[in-house]
């Protein structure tokens, strides 16, 4: 697949060079797997995000080029609750509603984000876990939003659902780049969008979010999920029957022994 891609690239190269009026380079991103199937042996996945940087007239300019790749899962509304000690026991005391929290967020960059872009640019492109915009609902103090966001980030980071990998994008000859991102087994289904940013002199000169990875349950796992969601009565009855059968069967077998 990669060979074919390179061939297409080679054919397109003169064309794209002509089409591009400015002297800005162009990004051709791709990913190792566009469909991830969750099956019974699924224990997580590793994605290789790679691609090429095409320069006008094929000449890499002097000066350092940096690349950042961001993989974002589907967003969903969530409530984050915070436990506090009340009368000697830990209970959920405070909470914030977030309208759009990504189910997965991983960023890899060729150098630490702080070193390649200024704070404003980083905030605009939401580069880094510290800069996630989760759209809290209601009027809430910025400090409080910060606290809950940090709590969520910390929790998801330990579960492998949020990740930050500075220095993990390898750039070869200023032309080819690649980054490896891992997905834990608990990733939710949905459309994952990979965004690639080409950065030079603290400026994002090219951004591409055309690469989409679809994660979905297949086969038996998909069947079970659909049954549980849409045919609860049948699903429950089956669960009851199978537990009755297994219980009876074990008794039967052991009585024979």
């Amino acid at each position: 697949m990669i060979a074919r891609l390179l061939l297409i690239l080679a054919l397109l190269l003169p064309l794209s060079a002509m089409a591009q009026s400015a002297s800005e380079p162009k990004l051709v991103p791709d990913v190792s797997q566009r469909n991830i199937n969750i099956q019974s042996r699924f224990t997580g996945a590793e994605l290789l995000l790679f691609g090429a940087i095409i320069y006008p007239r094929g000449v890499a300019p002097s000066g350092q080029i940096d690349v950042a790749v961001v993989l974002r899962g589907p967003t969903r509304p969530i409530i984050v609750r915070e436990k506090q000690k009340v009368a000697g026991i830990w209970v959920n005391a405070d909470s914030i509603d977030f309208r759009s929290a990504p189910a997965y967020y991983a960023i890899a960059s060729s150098r630490p984000i702080e070193k390649i872009v200024d704070a404003r640019t980083a905030a605009i492109y939401e580069l880094g876990l510290k800069r996630l915009q989760l759209s809290p609902t209601g009027e809430i103090e910025t400090r409080e939003v910060r606290r809950f966001t940090n709590g969520l980030v910390d929790l998801n980071q330990r579960d492998g659902l949020f990740a930050e990998a500075p220095g993990e994008v390898d750039i070869t000859d200023q032309v080819l780049y690649r980054a490896r991102l891992t997905l834990p087994s608990s990733v939710p289904e949905g459309k994952y969008i990979a965004e690639t940013l080409l950065i030079r002199d603290g400026r994002v000169i090219m951004a591409d979010d055309s690469v989409v990875v679809e994660i979905s349950k297949t086969g038996f796992e998909r069947f079970v999920t659909i049954m549980a969601q849409d045919y609860g009565l049948l699903y429950g009855a089956f669960a009851v029957l199978i537990s009755l059968f297994l219980g009876w069967f074990a008794g039967y077998v052991f009585n024979r022994l």
């Binding site: 969530i78 830990w90 796992e221």
Partner: protein, 304 residues
Amino acid sequence: MDIYLPIAGLSVNIVVIILLGGAVGMLSGMFGVGGGFLTTPLLIFYGIPPTVAAASASTQVTGASVSGVFAHMRRGGVDFHMGAVLVVGGLLGTLFGAVLFELLETWGQADTVINILYTLLLGGIGGLMAKDAWQSVSAKRSGKPVAASKRRHHPLVASLPGRWRFYRSGLYISPLAPLILGFLTGILTMLLGVGGGFIMVPAMLYILGMSANVVVGTSLFQILFVTMSSTMVHSLTTRAVDIVLAIFLLIGSVTGAQIGARLAQRMRPDYLRLLLAAIVLIVALRMALGLGWQPDEIYTVQFL
């Protein structure tokens, strides 16, 4: 060996799950309790989402209690009349429990309430059992028999209106008493994923005053129906029953239950009860510490 659980949405080690089911099954075979009070917290501890843990544990308890019910039925150890009243109460309890669960979820206090309930129930019951078992063990040691309790059932039970005759239990009491008892355990089944045997058995003995030879069988009979109902209610409301998880738990627990039942025959009943009391108390202590200690996770996420 890892396997992906489609409803829990993560992969787990099969061997761990089967062993967990086996250990719990062994206890349930030995003591005639469902063992749900151990499965749910252990699953949560392993990383399974709490609702999925409670829902799937109730499916597992169904399987673990089936063979027990058959065994007790064969030797006439089930009071069907009493069992039926308990089951009706239990079914109402699971429905009420489902509503309560929803309320607690939106209020955000489900896990705290569940932990407090666990601590109080297990602590109370464990303490009672330990005291009782200790008395009979030390009485045997010293050679003095325990003075038989004069009272058949709790005075509150006698004050309830209307009386039915429960022949096998040897009781002439108001059906409201077992109905309420069934209702309360039904709520617990729904909230905690437990069968309620650890509450039912002492309550039958000390509150209703049923004759001892039908207590375990009738309790298992009630657990069987109530956990079946709670699996159904979960399937229709929370949709959190993970059939793959339940099957692997069952494989472990039905085997463990048979081994446990055989072990129980070789052990002295008093020591058996003392052992169960110790296990219950340890779980209660762990739960209590969990409430007071700073939890590993201060923040939790609920999806809307």
